[in-house]
């Protein structure tokens, strides 16, 4: 499952970043590392870009980039 497929409010655990080069690397550097948990917090008017809470901060990505992040959906609205 890809980060881009999640709905607003869904929590996820990162499995792997599947795009390379500078973009993929930057995504990892911003905290999308195997095992890390996060949540899709909102999306812009047309559904793109999305805002994601991860590592205690908020980052926005385009869907094109979110498609390069493999995640698994996890339950529990533990911190909502």
């Amino acid at each position: 499952m890809r980060l881009a497929d999640l709905a607003t409010g869904d929590r996820f655990r990162v499995k792997k970043v599947t795009i390379g080069r500078e973009i993929g690397k930057r995504i990892v550097e911003m905290g999308f590392v195997n095992g890390r948990e996060g949540q899709v917090v909102r999306r812009a008017l047309l559904g793109d870009p999305i805002a994601v809470q991860i590592l205690n901060y908020c980052v926005s990505l385009r869907l094109a980039e979110a498609r390069g992040i493999e995640v698994e959906k996890i339950d529990g609205d533990a911190d909502r």
Binding site: L45, P49, V59
Partner: protein, 710 residues
């Protein structure tokens, strides 16, 4: 430890880590801006003392990592490697310690002496984050000092750590362990580097080896300059393929993940983060309004409208005062100097040119006051989030929106506003595009021509020109993206930082910095260019011959039998002006270029106006006034409208063409010099050629179609 010479200390940290606040707290009011290596990102420089030892502090651009991902990162990295500061203060945001320490480990890999400022630790405390500073310092093997820069807490103590580390280059105290497989590759490449190049003393080879495995384009490009380095690349390629086969993912990603794993290990030991409290933070609550899926856009548009209204509504008054001041200065010079070339140079050249540019200063101050407020509070990145989808369709970045809107007022602040864009290519692209936006100075040209040739539909005609401008800006960015900036897609991985209250000092600094830039430009480039335009329109000086005057008098007397002597004198004065301009270099250039302008339906008079319009777009109106001798007062619009209409060569189709030319041709001198200052002369020439070519093409099309139609 060196004495006598000032220590050079660089501040490095993530964007929004409070780096600049810390810089202000350390240096007080003593700073200035320096430009480095021809790039226009400013590195601020300040001074302080530690126990009598003078220290220079450099505020490097905020960065997330030392990759070659953005211009800012390359600048910071080059500064560290080439300038070799005596030590670094790494500003770490305590509320987001994990991502911030990622950069810290990268800095350490460079072998640079380093002190960590654990900033905004008061906020971290409030959030329930507990950091064992002593243990953190032990694990990182560098001094760690908690600070709260906004309250000036911990700053003295931070500086007190510096003497112990200054100058200790080359010791990598806490190297990241990348795991057996990768470590073996790193060692092999580092050995190759030491055999084939003489870089060993200058850069840690282990760092360079890691960068090469990460496929860092900038590091590879720099290494390629070494004659012996050629043989290294195939080796590196082989090692990368080996790593990728072994781990089943890209090498650059695996290495970044390993670094994060090291960070995670440190954080797990030294930091206790509370489980979610369930209560949304203030920033989250503000975002649920400002970034609301449906309300976010209207709120943004209202904010934009407010910026525009305040800048150009409120700014109108001081601009008018300054205009009057310069006009008064001109009149005073006219009264107190004997008429002649020197008076004309000062009044028409210097005051007319530089004065009209300086009168924009209130707009610059107001606009940057507001932009800095939006930027420092954290709203600007939200605006980019809201607008990105719409602009991305045209190849533009979300943050290009604001500069384009400002461009409707004046292109100069708009060009300067593109500085908020992260990538240089995006900055160039939005500068090239926003020259098509109709600025305020183009409006007098439209209103004159619309009043003269489209009296019944003036509003619609002017509106259509504005819309064509927007369409050209968007279309041209698609085209430029496709052919000039091929393959470029700046990713939109952008932090939405917590909202912070902007500080008066920070805002004042931004405004002061921008205004100074502008002043410096007015005093140099614009002054020179204004004098040049004056020279072209004044020389060579020509006087009508007695014969010409006699001929004109006969004609005048025949046409106006009841005219008085005063009427004749004003007619003669207008004739002199017209002849002087027609015979000047600019006038001759216009006549020489007549074949170029002819396919557009422009006679030589319009051609001259198109040329003088370079100094400022409004000048097109006054030039037409002089050349068409619109009565004793060259720029009386009512008179000019009538004269233009009576010229059989000047049809509505020509008028519309001139409007399009005004819209699309390259912008005024002030804007050109702003563009040059931001992106350099090469791009400026490209931009001018591009604008001119497109303007000609569109005007030609419009003239051919228009003539066939009407």
């Amino acid at each position: 430890m060196r004495t006598g010479k000032a220590w050079r200390i660089a501040l490095v940290g993530n964007p929004n880590s409070g780096k600049t606040t810390l810089f202000n707290a350390i240096t007080g009011a003593h700073h200035k801006v320096g430009n480095y290596a021809g790039v226009t990102v400013d590195i601020r420089q300040g001074r302080t003392e530690i126990n009598g030892q003078p220290v220079v502090i450099y505020d490097l651009p905020g960065i997330y990592s030392l990759t070659a991902y953005s211009q800012d990162e390359i600048i910071a990295r080059d500064f560290i490697i080439d300038e070799r500061p005596d030590a670094i203060i790494n500003v770490v945001d305590a509320t987001n310690i994990e991502r911030n320490l990622y950069l810290c480990l990268q800095l350490q890999e460079l072998g640079i002496p380093l002190v960590v400022a654990l900033n905004v630790c008061d906020q971290a405390e409030n959030m329930g984050i507990v950091i064992d500073t002593g243990l953190l310092s032990q694990l990182l093997k560098v001094p760690v000092q908690p600070t709260a820069a906004n309250r000036k807490r911990g700053v003295k103590e931070l500086l007190a750590h510096l003497p112990a580390v200054v100058g200790q280059w080359g010791q990598v105290r806490a190297p990241v362990y990348y795991g057996g497989e990768i470590e073996a590759e790193i060692t092999r490449i580092a050995r190759l580097l030491s055999e084939k190049t003489d870089l060993a003393g200058r850069i840690p080879l282990r760092w360079l080896a890691v960068k090469l495995l990460e496929k860092d384009s900038d590091a590879a490009a720099k290494l390629r300059r070494y004659p012996g380095a050629g043989g290294i690349f195939p080796e590196v390629g082989r090692h990368i393929r080996h790593i990728e086969a072994h781990f089943g993912n890209y090498a650059e990603i695996i290495i970044s993940e390993q670094r994060y794993a090291a960070v995670h290990g440190i954080v797990r030991e030294a930091v206790r983060q509370p489980a979610g409290t369930g209560r949304p933070t203030l920033t989250q609550r503000i975002d649920s309004v400002l970034l609301h899926r449906f309300w976010g856009l209207p709120i943004f548009l209202v904010a934009l409208w407010a910026v525009f209204q305040i800048t150009f509504g409120l700014g109108r008054y001081p601009v008018a005062w300054l205009d009057r001041l310069f006009a008064g200065l001109g009149n005073w010079l006219v009264a107190s100097m004997s008429p002649g070339i020197w008076q004309s140079l000062l009044v028409d050249g210097v005051i007319g040119g530089v004065g009209s540019v300086l009168s924009f200063v209130p707009l610059i101050v107001l606009l940057f006051l507001l932009i800095s407020l939006l930027e420092d509070s954290g709203y600007m990145s939200r605006a980019a989030f809201i607008m990105d989808r719409f602009l991305h369709a045209f190849g533009l970045h979300g943050q290009s929106f604001l500069p384009m809107i400002i461009g409707f007022g004046c292109s100069v602040p708009a060009v300067m506003a593109t500085r908020t864009l992260r990538s240089r290519k995006d900055r160039i692209l939005s500068k090239l595009s926003l020259t098509f936006i109709s600025c305020g100075a183009k409006l007098p040209v439209y209103t004159l021509l619309a009043a003269a040739f489209f009296p019944d539909r003036a509003g619609n005609v002017v509106m259509s020109v504005y819309l064509i401008g927007v369409a050209m800006a968007l279309l041209s960015s698609i085209v430029l993206k496709k052919f000039v900036f091929k393959g470029l897609s700046t990713p939109f991985v952008m932090e939405l930082p917590p909202y912070r209250r902007p500080t008066a000092k920070g805002i004042a600094w931004h405004v002061w910095d921008k205004t100074c830039h502008y002043f410096r430009k007015a005093a140099t480039v614009i002054l020179a260019a204004s004098i040049l335009v004056w020279l072209l329109t004044t020389f060579p000086v020509s006087e009508p011959t007695a014969e010409q005057i006699a001929g004109l008098h006969r004609q005048f007397a025949a046409e106006h039998p009841e005219a008085t002597e005063a009427d004749w004198q004003s007619c003669l004065a207008g004739y002199r002006q017209e002849q002087a301009l027609a015979n000047s270099a600019a006038g001759r250039l216009g006549q020489a270029l007549a074949p170029v302008f002819a396919p557009l339906g422009f006679n030589w008079k319009i051609g001259v106006a198109a040329i003088t319009g370079v100094s400022a777009k409004e000048v097109i109106v006054s030039t037409l006034g002089v050349l068409y001798r619109a009565g004793d007062n060259g720029d009386t619009e009512g008179g000019l409208v009538a004269v233009l209409r009576s010229d059989p060569e000047f049809t509505p189709v020509t008028a519309y063409g001139l409007m399009l030319y005004t819209l699309l041709s390259f912008p005024c001198l002030a804007t050109l010099s702003a563009i040059r200052a931001e992106i350099g002369g090469g791009w400026l020439l490209f931009s001018m050629g591009y604008n001119l070519g497109l303007a000609w093409l569109v005007c030609w099309l419009s003239y051919q179609l228009g003539s066939a139609w009407f």
